[in-house]
């Protein structure tokens, strides 16, 4: 793992620490090793992208950090922080209105009605969906639903936002605009983000670091710091250049599985 000591974001407090974390599904001859001795640290306010081909255990890694699944070996420390997780599908509940969906995490925490209504409005404003609170989820487009899901995740008041290919199902234009939005919200809300993707340019566009994982089992191959000035564009030469470099490593990794 390469580390850049001078980078200011790397000097922050560690909020997620994984030390030789392994995850195995099943046992005996059917055992599948999904993650093999993965070590990584995510610091406060950092935007980390996890990148890899199929079977690299990206999603498994997020499930472990989110506490939805148990690690098989190693140590995982998030210091008791609250974690929220977003998926490729917005997975909003159709029996609730848009603001009802955003209010739900607060309802579960027992926040008073008036307070959560006001907070939901603020959050919808943050994701630029002011005035859509009374709509039903199915009345919105895919990109808008994903922003509602983001507002719902923010309503959890989580310290760490985990995103599992959140823009994977969206068209390129929508994705491009949502990158700008996510970057703005990340900065304004001072979030710590762990973002899983298989899109190299997306990773370089968004991340402070891009961590490349190998496949079957998932291991950390390399940790690329991304230092281009923000806000970035996905079609800028710097992003394209570094993406090409990382893609080469990824290709070599995929080719390794030919035999």
């Amino acid at each position: 793992m390469t580390t850049v000591e001078a980078d200011p974001v790397q000097t922050g407090q560690a909020v997620v620490s994984l030390d030789s974390v392994s995850k195995q599904y099943g046992s005996g001859s059917n055992a599948l090793l999904a993650l093999d001795k993965v070590s990584l640290t995510v610091r406060k306010g950092e935007f980390v992208c996890l990148l890899g081909a199929s079977g690299c255990g990206k999603s498994t890694l997020l499930s472990l950090i989110a506490g939805l699944d148990k690690i098989s070996a190693g140590t995982l420390d998030i210091g008791g922080r609250h974690v929220s997780l977003m998926f490729q599908e917005a997975a909003l509940f159709p029996w609730l209105s848009v603001s009802g969906n955003v209010e739900l995490p607060m309802r579960l925490r027992g926040v008073a009605r008036a307070e959560r209504k006001q907070r939901a409005e603020e959050l919808l404003d943050i994701v630029r969906l002011k005035g859509f609170g009374d709509k039903r989820p199915h009345e919105l487009s895919g990109g808008m639903r994903q922003r509602v899901a983001l507002a719902r995740a923010l309503a959890q008041n989580a310290d760490i936002l985990l995103m599992d290919e959140p823009f994977g199902a969206l068209d390129a234009m929508t994705r491009d605009i949502l990158h700008d939005e996510l970057e703005r919200i990340w900065r304004e809300q001072e979030l710590t983000v762990v973002f899983v993707t298989h899109n190299v340019r997306e990773a370089v566009r968004l991340g402070d670091r891009v961590i490349l994982l190998s496949s079957r089992p998932g291991r950390v191959i390399e940790d690329f710091p991304v230092t281009h000035e923000r806000p970035r564009r996905i079609d800028s030469p710097e992003v394209a250049g570094q993406a090409a470099e990382i893609t080469d490593r990824l290709r070599a990794e995929v080719a390794r599985h030919a035999n």
Binding site: F87, H138, R184, D235
Partner: protein, 308 residues
């Protein structure tokens, strides 16, 4: 926040010399996303007026009724049976018109509907409790899960001999059969609704930290609603059938229900009246079905499960 791309520009300048500096309004990013939203939502399709839509759904049904009445009339004209055994539509509709103007008839409808509502209500209560218990506790499911499906396929008329022995010729005997006919459908609707809650929703529930009661209150129960409603609908159909069988078999003294009146008409050889009661039972069944469909459609529309 002004959005500029200094790094991108720097890179391009190296290649092309000088590019005009992109000057963006402070709200450019906001405009972009609001504009995209407006484009993606698009215009709404016009569905036509209420009257037009009503006519569009009504005419096939009216046509079907017309065909049935026509075939009936042809059979009568062909003199397959004497007209005092099989009267024509004109005679029956005339008798039906007279029948529904009598207070006696509506008393009968009231007796029957009261039984239907009570029996169905009890079936919903019991079916819901059993369904929730079965899907909550795995051993219970192994024990009686298949029994519920078995009960569902049992013809309800088979229960009457036992019901009469248990409760004699009483309201309870009828209610017993109505409930035992309808409750399994209600329970099954709830069980399959709970079984097929989409995995992604369950994961969201996990992420939001839902456990125990909150998980049922905010996720499992609302998510199983569509399946529960189809269970209710099916349960109603079963309870209505059981009730009609019951009213013909179990004559409770003093309760002149639709079934009893129909039986009386048969005893007096009044075919026209018998057919009139058949039509009444059919119409009530259709009306209730329309109510369930309306509830189902309202839910589908709210959830965005319809094609529109």
């Amino acid at each position: 926040m002004p959005i500029k791309y200094p790094s991108a520009r720097a890179g391009l300048e190296g290649v092309t010399g000088s590019l005009p500096a992109p000057v963006e309004k402070p709200d450019a990013a906001k405009d972009r996303i609001t504009g995209l939203d407006a484009l993606e939502l698009g215009g709404k399709s016009e569905k036509g007026s209420l009257g037009k839509r009503f006519w569009r759904s009504a005419w096939p049904k009216l046509l079907a009724i017309g065909i049935v009445v026509l075939v009936w009339q042809i059979v009568v004209w062909a003199e397959w049976k004497p007209v005092y055994v099989l009267p024509g539509p004109a005679t029956v509709f005339e008798d039906l018109g007279t029948l529904i103007k009598t207070g006696d008839f509506w008393d009968g409808v009231r007796v029957t509907m009261l039984r239907a509502v009570t029996g169905f209500g009890l079936a919903v209560l019991i079916g819901t409790i059993v369904g929730a218990a079965v899907s909550r506790f795995t051993p219970l499911r192994a024990a009686i899960g298949s029994l519920i499906t078995g009960l569902q396929t049992m013809p309800s008329i088979m229960w009457f001999p036992l019901a009469i022995l248990l409760f004699q010729l009483s309201e309870s005997a009828i209610l017993f059969v109505v409930v035992i006919g309808a409750a399994p459908s209600v329970a099954n609707g709830l069980i399959s609704g709970i079984d097929y809650v989409p995995r992604t929703w369950l994961r969201v529930g996990q992420v939001l930290g839902m456990t125990g009661f909150a998980k049922y209150r905010h996720l499992i129960l609302p998510a199983s609603l569509p399946s529960f409603i189809s269970g209710l609908k099916q349960g109603w159909a079963f309870s209505w059938r059981s009730l009609m069988a019951g009213e013909l078999l179990v004559i409770v003294p003093g309760a002149l229900s639709i079934g009893v009146r129909m039986q009386q008409a048969r005893d007096l050889n009044e075919s026209s009246l018998v057919i009139s009661f058949i039509i009444v039972v059919l119409v009530i069944g259709i009306l209730i079905d329309v109510l369930f469909n309306a509830a189902d459609n309202a839910l589908r529309k709210r959830w965005g499960l319809t094609g529109s």
